[in-house]
Amino acid sequence: MIYKFLQTLHDMILESGIYQICNGFIADEGYKIIIMILISFVFMYLAIAKGFEPLLLLPISFGILLTNLPDAAMYHSYLFEGNIDYGRILHEGGLLDILYMGVKLQIYPPLIFLGIGAMTDFSPLIANPKSFILGAAAQGGIFFTFIGAALFGFTAQEAGAISIIGGADGPTAIYVSSKLLGGGGFDVETGTIALAAYTYMALVPIIQPPIMKALTTKKERLVRMGQLRPVSKTEKIIFPIAVTVVVTLIVPSAAPLVGMLMFGNLLKESGCCDRLVKTAQNELMNIITIFLGISVGATTTAEKIINPKFGGVIVLGVLAFSFGTASGVLFGKLMYLATRGKVNPLIGSAGVSAVPMAARVSQKVGQQYDPTNYLLMHAMGPNVAGVIGSAVAAGVLLNIIPY
């Protein structure tokens, strides 16, 4: 009886995660698992205590924890390499493998865009359509970073996935990276791209202001912009339909993202589908956010994160954000000159998406110089234009780079 008890105890110890980490601490790089678990704790701290994009960073960080616990068997990276057998994943995969299929098949990001569309008010953009230019200019971060990624020695697919971080749009980054890196065999994973994108998006209020201040004069920062004109319901209804048609005809690859974004917005603006709008804004959005976050976090295994290439992604990610902000502000300056001082260049930085945080940063920096200056609604124009712009840029990348 005692022997049986000790035998069972012995077997349990051999199967435990603690034994596996200790046993292969050096030989099987068990220390990397401990580092990954600590990284997940840091991200959990940032999400809970510091409020850094908690809705996504918390599920992502918990996904990192689950995937790196030895023998948890919730995610198996080998199931997604080469030609993926989805039937096998359903039979042999763990919970996170099955949830990750939604990322791999590019289902979650367009559904998130549906929810974003149902929550977004495009009135500031319709009232001042020139904001589209700032939304396009801020995508400079994507394309300049592509050059940087090439210099770092990344492959075309990896460079495309890294550069899309400059779009400051989480679902777009996940959509593009899962498509470009879908074939497997890359040093960069969708999870790493998502992690970098969401971390930098949370850091927008820290990254952007110094660049905005460095590139503008005090006179430019004090510019007060005129009141926006009221937008009719007809315009609000026609806008999503027109954007879908125009963008899809020019860049068909952007259709899943732009199409779903605009579908969500049409549901909202039509005023006849309240139940669907509420579902898209709340239940659907929340469910997809949980699935997306935890499954993307699960892909960040030790071998993908603890390598020099991840350092490259982190450096290029911050460069992408900085370039995007700078090109938006510089185009804002051009508009300031062209309109003889009627446009405040600070709204240009909001063109990097990250709705509505980037617009809030424009407002905050503007108010540091004139507390009665309200730039928020003017900055919302380039901000929502940035969402469309980054989806278009994503479509262009998917068109040019083979995968």
Binding site: G160, V247, L376, I400, Y403
Partner: protein, 136 residues
């Protein structure tokens, strides 16, 4: 493999030509797409504006409107209002003071209204801005 503009093979060498092609094509297509949208939205705005103006002109004129009677202000003492302050601002301030008087039971008198040193927005514009920016 998806159809692509440059018809490249799956493994692409990151030559300067390819990188330049990605950057230039990306920039140009993104700008072209969004410029077309600017033109369309501007056209749509003008069209809707024109149609709504036409609609207003076609509406029959309202003959039944009765002009509002003047308030009995014979007993009220007008406060000293400095130049450049709109009547609507004076109305809002006096209305607020009247409401306070009614609730507190004390008789309050407004003696003067003058501009502050720092330029301010109109109160209605401020209220509108705060209402519009509340969701963000």
């Amino acid at each position: 493999m998806s159809p692509n503009l440059l018809l490249l093979s799956k493994t692409v060498e990151m030559t300067p030509e390819f990188v330049a092609a990605v950057v230039i094509t990306g920039f140009v297509l993104t700008f072209v797409c969004l410029i077309i949208l600017i033109l369309f939205v501007q056209f749509l705005g003008k069209l809707v504006n024109k149609l709504s103006k036409k609609k207003i002109l076609n509406q029959p004129k309202n003959n039944g409107a009765v002009p509002a009677s003047k308030a009995d202000a014979s007993k009220a003492v007008s406060p000293v209002v400095s130049d450049g302050i709109d009547d609507e601002v004076v109305v809002v301030i006096t209305a607020a003071i009247a409401a306070m008087s009614a609730s507190s039971g004390k008789k309050l008198v407004l003696k003067s209204i003058s501009k502050s040193a720092t330029p301010m927005r109109k109160p209605w514009a401020m209220a509108g801005l705060q209402e519009n920016t509340k969701p963000f």
